[in-house]
């Protein structure tokens, strides 16, 4: 019954011509299924949650707000559609420039896609559900018809045509792999929505809408990736490392044993990799002695591993199969610009 009325609303919206605006009002009727977010052990289909009124179009339901990150994580050049769901009557709490503290019942949704407009193809949607006993990360894989995304507990390996890299063997992570990146001290946590990596405009709108309690200090401190040529190179590089590496490379992360700490706030040169010898890099070292040799990216393990697509060498280990050329470019310029003697 509900589905039928939605279909009618959708049709009405389309016939009205200004689809988005009219749909936005029509959408008010669709709400997220809080039982799926909070209780159903592992919902089998993305549609069970009701995060979208139009899932294929990625048009969100009420209280599901799209967002972007100033500096995003690289995933084989896929475009990402991110959404945050905060249940009605609840609020995320600002925690300085760090991760917004989302209340129980919230969800973060991220869809990975290639192509634009009518050619856009949704590959997978990953959800992070904040339940009473903590966050749960689950991956959903879209079908070829683009009508539904089903739970892909064990992940998947797909041949995907991409505009930038041609056909690649794209990896949808399994449930455990979700956790490998999304964990601090073995507890699942979100990574992306830190205030410092969200725009002030977005945050202001969230505060105004009542989804966030207050404007966090330090909002938007990370440079906007597309504007990196105008930004401070050190900030750009450190933002890139924070977003792409620091979920593992920090004292409570998966790569804690490496002793490499690539968080934005880390200011000890050795911890960031400067003249730091590898611990367990194996052939990842590429015959080089230090993570970063100031002034010489060609002798820096960091650049060697970022520039490899060879499993066992390539960094990050998960979530990508191709090299992020723009990321390598930034880190290369950053290291080459380091004065050799200052550290």
């Amino acid at each position: 019954m509900k589905r039928l009325s939605l279909a009618i609303l959708g049709a009405a919206a389309l016939s009205a011509g200004s689809a988005i605006a009219v749909q936005a009002t029509a959408i008010e009727v669709t709400v997220v299924n809080d039982t799926a977010v909070l209780e159903t052990r592992m919902p089998r289909a993305l549609s069970d949650y009701g995060f979208f009124t139009d899932a294929a179009g990625q048009i969100p339901s009420a209280n599901v707000t799209p967002y972007r990150l100033n500096t995003p994580l690289y995933t084989d050049s896929a475009s990402k559609l991110r959404f945050a769901y905060v249940p009605k009557g609840k609020q995320a709490v600002a925690d300085g420039e760090g991760l917004l503290k989302f209340p129980v019942g919230s969800a973060l949704i991220k869809t990975f896609a290639y192509g634009e407009g009518e050619d856009r193809r949704l590959i997978e949607t990953r959800v992070l559900l904040h339940r009473a006993d903590g966050w749960l990360a689950l991956p959903y894989k879209w079908n070829d018809e683009q009508t539904e995304a089903k739970l892909a507990l064990v992940g998947a390996r797909l041949d995907v045509d991409t505009p930038e890299h041609g056909t690649i063997s794209y990896r949808v992570p399994n449930k455990n792999q979700c956790k490998q990146c999304h964990s601090i001290d073995d507890t699942v946590v979100p990574i992306g929505p830190k205030a410092r990596n969200l725009s002030s405009d977005w945050m202001a709108a969230m505060v105004k809408a009542g989804h966030v309690d207050a404007m966090p200090q330090g909002t938007g401190a990370l440079p906007v990736w597309e504007h990196r040529q105008e930004a401070d190179l050190n900030d750009t590089a450190r933002a890139y490392l924070d977003v792409n590496c620091a979920h593992c490379h920090q004292p409570q992360g998966k790569a804690s044993n490496s002793g490499l700490d690539l968080r934005w706030e880390q200011d000890d040169p050795t911890s960031v990799g400067i003249r730091k010898r590898p611990v367990a890099a194996g052939r990842g070292s590429g015959g080089l002695n230090f993570s970063i040799v100031p002034g010489d990216s060609s002798r820096s393990i960091m650049v060697h591993r970022m520039g490899s697509d060879n499993p066992g060498v390539a960094m990050p280990e998960l979530g990508k199969t191709t090299v992020d050329k723009d990321g390598v470019d930034v880190i290369t310029r950053w290291i080459d610009a380091m004065p050799e003697k200052t550290f």
Binding site: R157, N176, Q180, N257, T270, R277, G282, R283, E317
Partner: protein, 402 residues
């Protein structure tokens, strides 16, 4: 079914319930979809469950992972059940374990692109009768570690075989309370390595044809340091003369080929009752950390190292350490079987053999400043063994009695 039968069945079930009542056995066969079927079982397992891998080859394309406490993964034997990663396309290891009380037993793993089996923050883990191997033999592009527990408390590695790791066959790092025994390490760069760990017994192993047989190291700039309390005893450490094929940059790349046991910048190590022979550089080397470091919390020196009651077979006939050729020439072709770089304190060698001292007075000194000489480090009196045996939780020892 009549009532009596039901009662008998119920009684039988109770008797068998040594495992939690809900424990299940999930059997996985090799063949199509092995990657998905096995990974699904690893994800959906409940504590107490046993995942049984049937005999045969499992062709795998991505790293496997286990994050459920109390799960046993059991194969049909280290040569009968083989996880084959020859066509691996992603992930940094073949199998990653991140949960506690896990038992891995009786299967083999071949040709993973990175490490073999890694367990991180996985307390009370048992590795039993496993084989992890790179089948092409020593090669720079083999994975670094075959068996790789790290940041864990209570680690048991028993009756495993590791072959051709480009770093260490059995590597235990930044862990506490460790036993490595009854195992074979061959054709690795380091056969067995205990690194930045607190409390380890390494005994009754065979380390043969590695670059270095058994290493006890402590390194700077990593979260757990101050490695201490390691006993290396009753091992056979012979013929460790394979060329060093570790990529430069890794600390083991500095291990000279022909090394038996090497102790680097560590507290409280006892090396006793081992059989050493045919290690061309030397049977035992005790040394400071060889590189410059700015880590103020780090002690680069070996402290309180006792080498005692070992059988010292032929060694030192082709020393490959810095200045080795010159040293050999100076000592008539063969250097003593035990070398001490001169650094550290309380270094005692009571094996009835001469010791070569390199005469360094600080770590990371250039070889040109060496003052080589033969020294007697046996001290005044018989120095007793002081370190206590490692004791693991009974449940872990029970595993290897089954």
């Amino acid at each position: 079914m009549n009532k009596l039968n039901r009662m008998c069945l119920a009684a039988g079930a109770l008797l068998l319930a040594a495992q939690p009542a809900w424990a299940e056995t999930i059997t996985i066969a090799p063949g199509d979809g092995a990657q998905e079927r096995l990974q699904e079982a690893l994800i959906l397992a409940e504590p107490g469950d046993e995942i049984v891998l049937e005999a045969g080859r499992f062709a795998l394309t991505d790293g496997l992972s286990l994050d459920v406490d109390g799960v046993t993964v059991r194969g049909a034997g280290m040569d009968q059940t083989v996880l084959d990663f020859s066509n691996q396309m992603g992930a940094g290891e073949g199998l990653l374990v991140t949960s506690d009380n896990v038992v891995l037993r009786e299967f083999g793993m071949e040709n993973s692109k990175g490490d073999g089996i890694k367990s991180k923050g996985a307390d009370n883990i048992v590795y039993y009768k496993l084989r992890v191997e790179w089948t092409r033999g020593p090669h720079e592009e083999n994975g670094a570690y075959a068996i790789y527990p790290v940041e864990s408390e209570n680690v048991l590695v028993d009756s495993v075989t590791t072959i051709a790791a480009s770093d260490a066959g059995i590597y235990v790092g930044q862990s506490k309370n460790i036993i490595v025994r009854n195992s074979v390490a061959k054709y690795n760069v380091a056969g067995i390595e205990i690194e930045n760990s607190y409390g380890a017994d390494v005994y009754n192993n065979l380390a043969v044809n590695n670059t270095g047989g058994i290493l006890v190291f402590d390194l700077p700039d990593i979260p757990q340091q101050g490695g201490r309390d390691v006993r290396v005893f009753e091992n056979i450490v012979v013929d460790n003369n394979t060329r060093n094929f570790a990529p430069e940059g890794n600390i083991v790349a500095s291990v000279p080929s022909g090394m038996g046991v090497m102790v680097m910048s560590h507290f409280n190590v006892e090396v006793f009752g081992n059989v050493f022979a045919e290690n061309a550089t030397g049977n035992v080397l005790i040394t400071a950390y060889p590189n410059e470091t700015e880590d103020a919390d780090y002690n680069p020196l070996p402290v309180n190292i006792l080498v005692k009651d070992n059988i010292q077979g032929r060694a030192g006939y082709k020393p490959a350490m810095r200045g080795g050729e010159m040293l050999a020439a100076a000592f008539g072709g063969t250097i003593p079987p035990v070398t001490h770089d001169g650094n550290g304190s309380d270094i005692v060698v009571q094996d009835g053999v001469p010791v070569l001292s390199l005469g360094f007075t600080k770590p990371a000194q250039p070889f040109t400043e060496a003052q080589p000489s033969v020294v007697d480090l046996s001290g005044d009196a018989d120095k007793p063994l002081m370190l206590k045996p490692i004791v693991l939780p009974e449940a872990m020892e029970a595993v290897v009695k089954q």
